[in-house]
Amino acid sequence: MTKRNLLILIGLLLGTIAFPGIRSALAKPEPAPVEEVSPLHPTFALLDKNGENVLKSGEPLSTMQTCGQCHDTEFIQNHAFHSDLGLSDYAQDGEVNASSGTFGKWDPLTYRFLSQKGDERLDLSTAEWLMLNGSRVVGGGPAETSRAGKPLEDVKADSANPEASLLNPETGQAEAWDWDESGTMEMNCFLCHIDKPNYEARLEALESGQFELANTATLFNGGLVVQTEDGFKWNESAFQEDGEIGEDHVLIKDPTNENCAACHGEIHTDSSSPLTLRAGDLDTPQTATTGQVISAQKISESGVNLSGKAELNRSWDIHAERQLQCTDCHYALNNPARAGETQKVGPEHLLYDPRTLEISEYLERPDHNFARGQSAQYNVAPELKGTMRRCESCHDASKGHSDWLPYIDTHMAAVACETCHIPQLYAPAIQSYDWTVLTLDKGPVKAYRGVEGEPNEVTSLVTGYKPVLLNRTNIDGQQLLTPYNLITAYYWVYEDANGNTRPVRLLDLETAYFENDAYASDILSAFDANSNGILSDDELMIDSSAKEAAVKSKLIALGLENPRIEGLTQPYSINHNVTRGENAVNECKACHNDESRVSQPIKLVSYAPNGVLPAFDTANNVNASGEIVKSDNGAVYYNPVPANDEMYVFGSSRVRWIDWFGALMFAGTLVGVIGHGTLRYLSTRKRARAPKQTERVYMYESYRRFWHWLQTTSIVILLFTGLIIHRPDIFGVFSFRGVVTIHNVIAVILVVNALLSVFYHIATERVQEYIPRPYGFFDDAIVQAKYYISDIFKGEGHPFEKRPDSRMNPIQKVTYFGILNVLLPLQILTGVLMWGVQKWPGIANWFGGLPFLAPFHSLVAWTFAAFIVGHVYMTTTGATPLESIRGMVTGYEEVEVHEHVEEVNEKKEVQSEK
C-alpha cells in the first residue's frame, strides 16, 4: 500500500462516529459535513489587484495578488491549460476552429460561435463567451488576456472588435464592451481549493458581466465576505488584528472530487442518499455527453428509474468505490510524490532519478498542467497527452486475467481495457442535437440514447446504452479498440463576406424561425403538416426539400450566402464507470460471434435532415473506418467494419467467398464419391462375381499405423474444433474458450506427430516411397486414372501391384505429397502465426497479419475436409471395400495377387487373338 505523502495539503479530518447505538447508516440522513479548517496552511491577508489589503480598500480581492504572496501565481497561470483553454494556440486561418480548446473551438452542442476578428457578423464576443461559459471557466487565460497576448483592459472598447464588444440580442447589433469597467477574471484558486465555493454567486457575477467580482463572489456568505444589496462587504470580524484572515477561516485544501465535479460531470459522494441525475445537462458535460457518473454507490441503490436496476449490484464506478480521487490519476505533473511516473528523459541505464523538487519548491510553483489522457474531444495542450496514469500504471493485466483469459497479450494488443471493463453506461447520454430547426425555447431538437422518454422526467425509463467500439491511435502509436459515444449535430452553415464558412448564428436562426416569440407564419406553413398551429416533434424536422427551401430562403433574406445543412458526428471518449468481475465482459462469445460487440452498430440520428449524412469528425485520434449508413426507416447508423482496421476476430470475421468455395469443394467431393460408389455398386451387381486371388501381406508396420491414426484423429478434431471457432453462432453450445484450448493442444500433438514421422521417414529413407518418379509419371498416372474411371466398374484388377515396398500408386503419391509436404506445413505455419500473432508480430504482419492468415487457414482446412472424404472413399477400392482399412488397423492386408505387367499385356494379346 503506498503511503500518502504529506506534501499534499492535508484533507479533511475523518468524521468521527456519532453515538454508535443511535447512529444509523441506512435509515437516517447524514448530518451535513462541516467545513474543515486546514491545519497546515498559514493565515494570510486578502489583497486586491493593487496589492492593498481588501479591508482597507473595500475592493474585490485578487487571487493573483493574494495567493501570490507565497505561491508563484504567474507560474501557475502560465502552466495551466485549465486556464489557457486554447488561447495560446489561437490562430485565425479562415477555418471554423481557431484553436483546439474551449476558447476558439466551435462546439456544435453549445452552438454559439466565438467570432474571429474580421468576421462579418458578431456572434459570441470574448465578453459574452465568458458570461456564457463562465461557470466552467477557471479564469486567467482568455478571461484576462487578449488573443494577441495583451491584458484585456488594454483593448479599447470597440463594437467592431469581437474582443471588446457584445452582441445585443434585442437589436441584433454589436455594442462596445469596456473591460476597464467590468474588469477581467483572474484564475480563481478558490474554485478548486476550498470546500464549498459559492458557485451560484459567482455565476451571477459572471452573467451580469462583473468579471472582476467573480472571484470574490466565490467566497460570498462563506464567512469572509457578505453579499449586500449593492455589492458586497468584507466581514471584519472574520479577520485578525493584523489584517490577516482568522484561523477559523483558512479553508484551503487540495481538490476533492466535488471540486472537479462542479465543472466536469456528475459525481455522488454521499452513499446514504440515492443518486439522482440531471441528464443531458451540458453544465456537467462528461455525464451529458457520455452518461458517465462517478459514484461509489451501487447502481441498485440509486434513485434512477433504471431498467433492471435490482440486479445491478455493482457500483457506478469501481475506482470511486475504492476511494480513489480524481487527483490520484490526474495529478500535477511536477508533484514530487508522483515523480516516478512523470520521469521520461535520462540516461538509458537510469531507472529513477531521485533529484526531485522539495515540497516547499513544489508548493511555491505547482504545475497546474495536470496529467491528462488522450480523449477524443479535449485537445488543448496536446503535448501533455498521455501523461496520466492509465490502467496499466496500476494493474497487471497478465496476472489479473490469468485464470480465465487465453491469449492475454493478443487481446491487450488489440483491445483497450475500457472495452471490456466499461461494457455499458447506465445513464442517458446525448445522441444528437438538430440545430437546423429551433424549438419554442430557442433550442435544438435533442435526442438522447439510453432512455425512453424525456431524460429528466421521473416517468422515463433509463435503459442505459452500450458504447460503440472504435479504433483509437494512442500517442505511442498503438491502435486499440476503445468505447465511445457518438454525438451527431446538424446545423446550418453559410459563407460569410470573407469567404469563410461559419455556422449560422443563433440570433439569425431565431430571426428566421420566430416572429414575436412564436413561429413565423411562413415557417409554420412550411412545417405544420396538419395545420393545427403547433409544430409537433414529427413536424419539427427538415425532411423535405420544401422545408429546407423555406428555411434557406429566410436565411438568404438575412444576407447569409449559400446557407446549407451540414452534419458532424463527434466521438466522446468513455474512460470512467469501470467495473470488474462478472460485470465486465468475460464471455468470449460477446465478441467472438456473428453478432459481435466489435461490429455492433450505433444509432447516430433518427432522421437525417433532408437526407444529409453526417461527416465523421477527423480532428481527433479516433479512426472511424466504418460506414455511416441510412436504414430503411430513415435513421442513420454508424457500422463499424473491423476488416477496415485490419482486425480479424475469430468467430466473427470471415471471408465469404472462401467459405463458399470450401463448402463447394467439400460438397463436390462428397457428391463425386457417392456417385462413383453407387456406380461401382451397381456394376458389381450386374457382373458375375469372379473371386480375386489374394494373398495376405504384412503391409503396414506398427509405427506407420500409429502415426496414421493419430494424424487422422488429430486432423478430424482440429477440423471440428476449427469449425466451431469459425462459426460459434451455429455451435453455441460449446464453450469458446474450451474449444480454442482443445484446438491448440491437438495442433501441437499433430505437429509433434508429423515431425516425428518426417524424421522417421528420412532416417529410414522410406521417404522415397512418397516421391513420384518423374520418368513415366504422367503415363502411369493416366493408367491409374483410367482404372478408376472405367476399369474398376468392369471388375478389373489394379494396374499397379501393392507391395509393402511400393504401396502407393502415382496418383496417391502426388496427392499425399501435396497434402503432407505442402498443405500441412502451410496449415501449421499459418496456425502457428495465428497463435503467436503477438509474439512474432513482424513475421505475422509480413504475411499480411490475421486478415490474410486466418482466411488462408480456413481455405486449407476446407481442402483437408474434402481430402478426407475422398481419401476414405478411395480406401474402399481394395480387394474388398473394407480390406484396406483393415490393413491399416491390423497391419495385414489381403492384396490382389499380381501377375507381372508384361504378363498381363501378353494375356491380353493372347485373348484378343482368340
Binding site: 475523518l14 462516529i17 454508535p20 441506512l26 449490484n313 484423429t713
Partner: protein, 487 residues
C-alpha cells in the same frame, strides 16, 4: 521388404487395440491437462448436520400427564440419558463453567443464576417470571433449586410443537397446555422452540439481542439469508448439538470462550475466499459478521437505552417503546449500524456482583477483549446497550433489586424495599442509599446475516463518511491511505 505370409491359424492378440489405446491417451491426456477448469468450490450445504429421521410420537406417547415432571418421566423411559445430558449444560445450570479471573482470588461462575445484566438486572428473587425461560420446572425463589432431579428437566420446551406448549410462572407449563398433546407433538427443535425464549429476552420481542427477534420466525431472505428464503435453516443447523451439548456460547455470560465451543461461519463456509482479491486481504482483520451483518434490528426495533432512574413515576402513560412505570424510560432503534470493536472471542472484563464501580465513569457489564495489536482479534460488530441502573451509593457496587418477585419494585415501586429484600438473597449488604450509574453491555451481532449482495461496500467504512472511528480502533487513520495493521 520381405513379404510375411501368415498361415498360422492361431488366434493372435489384436495388437492394434494397443495402438488405439495409445492414440486415445496421446490425445486425451494433454487435452484434459490444458482444458480450462472451473475452480473447485466447497458447497457450504455439504456441512449441514444430518438430522435424525423424525419419528412421530403420536402413537408412542400414552397416558395422563398431570404435571410437567410426569411428561419427563415418560420421555426418560426410552430416552434414558437425555435428562442427564441436559443437566450438564448451561441451559440447565444457568451458570458458566468456573473461570479464574484476575480481579478475584477464587474461581467464579457467570450466569443468570448468579450475576446481573443491564436489562432486567437480576433473575435472583424474581424467579416467578424469569424462570419461564428456564428449561426446567419449578425453580422458586426461596428454595434452592434441585439441580439433580432429572424429572425437573423440561423436555417439551425444546421438543414440543410450540403451538401446543408454553411455559408460565416458575417455569411450569402454562395452565392452558394440554400436556398429552404437547408430548405427542415432539420433534427436533425448530426456530419456534429456541425463539420462544431467545427472541423475547429482556422483556419483549427483540429487546435484548438486536439480532434475534420474532421477525426470524418467518424471515425473508433479505432479513436473514440462512433462516429466510429457500434455506429456512433451523438454529440447530449452526448450533450443532451432540447429546444435548449445544455449540455456541453467549459472550455476556462468559469470561473466556473456547473456540471449539463457539459457533463460527467456518463450520460450513470452509476456507471461504471471495472472488474479489481485495476483499480477501481484509479477512485477517475483519470478522465475517462485520460486512455481512450490516445492520441490527432490521424489522423489529431493539432497545438501546434503558433508564431505570425514571421508573416509578406516576401520571405517565405506559408505552412499550418509550416508558413503562415498572421499568423506566427507554430508547429503541431499528435498522441501525452496530458498534465495532476489536474482538478475539473473549471478554476482558465481566462485572461480578460485588465489584466496585466508579459512579462517575461508565461501568462495563462486559467488555469484549481485543486490540489492534492482538493478531487473533478482528473487528466485530456489537450491539451496545446503555443503561442507568441502581447502585449502592455508599458501597459503590451495582444492586440487584427484587422486581418481579413478591413485594418487589414492580408491586410497590419502592426501591429501598426492593434492595432490602434482595440483601439476603444476593449476599450483598445494602447501605440504605442508592443512586443510578451508567452501564454498558456489548452483545455480539451475528444473526440477521444479509445476502452477499447487501454486504457492506468499500465506502461504508473507507472514505469521508465511513462507519469506523479509525483512531479509536488504534489506526493512525484510514487504512486505505495508512496501510493495515500489519504494515
Amino acid at each position: 521388404m520381405k513379404k510375411r505370409l501368415s498361415t498360422s491359424s492361431r488366434r493372435r492378440f489384436p495388437f492394434w487395440t494397443l495402438g488405439l489405446l495409445g492414440i486415445i491417451l496421446v490425445i486425451l491426456v494433454p487435452v484434459l491437462y490444458f482444458l480450462p477448469r472451473a475452480k473447485p468450490s466447497t458447497n457450504p450445504a455439504d456441512y449441514l448436520p444430518q438430522k435424525a429421521v423424525h419419528v412421530d410420537h403420536a402413537d408412542i406417547v400414552k397416558g395422563d400427564f398431570e404435571t410437567g415432571q410426569d411428561v419427563t418421566r415418560a420421555c426418560l423411559e426410552c430416552h434414558e440419558d437425555a435428562a442427564t445430558q441436559v443437566m450438564g449444560t448451561t441451559h440447565w445450570t444457568w451458570e458458566s463453567k468456573a473461570f479464574d479471573v484476575p480481579w478475584r482470588d477464587e474461581p467464579v461462575t457467570i450466569g443468570k443464576a448468579n450475576q446481573i445484566n443491564n436489562f432486567c438486572i437480576s433473575a435472583q428473587g424474581n424467579q416467578k417470571s424469569c424462570m419461564s425461560c428456564h428449561i426446567g420446572y419449578g425453580w422458586q425463589e426461596d428454595v434452592p433449586y434441585d439441580y439433580e432431579n432429572a424429572y425437573n428437566v423440561d423436555c417439551l420446551a425444546c421438543h414440543a410443537d410450540m403451538a401446543q406448549y408454553g411455559k408460565g410462572n416458575y417455569g411450569e407449563p402454562s395452565e392452558s397446555v394440554d400436556l398429552l398433546a404437547a408430548a405427542r407433538s415432539v420433534r427436533a427443535p425448530t426456530r419456534e422452540n429456541c425463539g420462544a425464549c431467545h427472541f423475547d429476552g429482556g422483556g419483549g420481542n427483540g429487546v435484548k439481542h438486536g439480532d434475534l427477534d420474532e421477525s426470524l420466525y418467518f424471515p425473508s431472505e433479505n432479513n436473514d439469508v440462512h433462516m429466510g428464503g429457500q434455506l429456512d435453516m433451523q438454529c440447530t443447523d449452526c448450533h450443532w448439538t451432540n447429546e444435548h451439548q449445544i455449540l455456541g456460547r453467549m459472550l455476556t455470560d462468559n469470561y473466556t470462550i473456547d473456540p471449539g465451543e463457539q459457533v463460527s461461519c467456518e463450520q460450513c463456509h470452509v476456507n471461504q475466499q471471495h472472488e474479489d482479491e481485495r476483499i480477501n486481504t481484509h479477512l485477517a482483520a475483519i470478522a465475517c459478521q462485520t460486512c455481512h451483518v450490516p445492520a441490527l434490528a432490521l424489522e423489529d426495533p431493539t432497545k438501546v437505552f434503558w433508564d431505570w432512574s425514571q421508573a416509578g413515576q406516576d401520571g405517565r402513560v405506559d408505552d412499550h417503546f418509550t416508558y413503562l412505570k415498572i421499568k423506566g424510560e427507554f430508547v429503541y432503534d431499528k435498522n441501525f449500524a452496530p458498534t465495532y470493536l476489536w474482538f478475539n472471542g473473549n471478554n476482558e472484563y465481566r462485572y461480578l456482583l460485588g465489584d466496585k464501580i466508579d459512579p462517575n465513569a461508565v461501568t462495563y457489564i462486559n467488555k469484549p477483549a481485543g486490540n489492534i495489536d492482538d493478531l487473533s482479534a478482528k473487528i466485530f460488530p456489537f450491539k451496545l446497550h446503555v443503561a442507568k441502573q441502581p447502585y449502592d451509593a455508599v458501597n459503590n457496587y451495582i444492586l440487584a433489586p427484587i422486581t418481579a418477585g413478591a413485594d418487589g419494585f414492580w408491586t410497590n415501586f419502592d426501591w429501598n424495599n426492593a434492595f432490602e429484600l434482595a440483601e439476603d438473597r444476593m449476599g450483598l449488604p445494602y447501605s440504605g442509599s442508592y443512586d443510578f450509574a451508567e452501564t454498558y453491555m456489548y452483545w455480539p451481532t451475528t444473526h440477521m446475516v444479509q445476502p452477499s449482495e447487501n454486504a457492506l461496500q468499500c465506502d461504508a467504512c473507507h472514505g469521508a463518511d465511513g462507519l469506523l472511528d479509525w483512531e479509536a480502533l488504534g489506526y493512525p487513520g484510514d487504512p486505505v491511505e495508512w496501510g493495515g495493521r500489519d504494515k
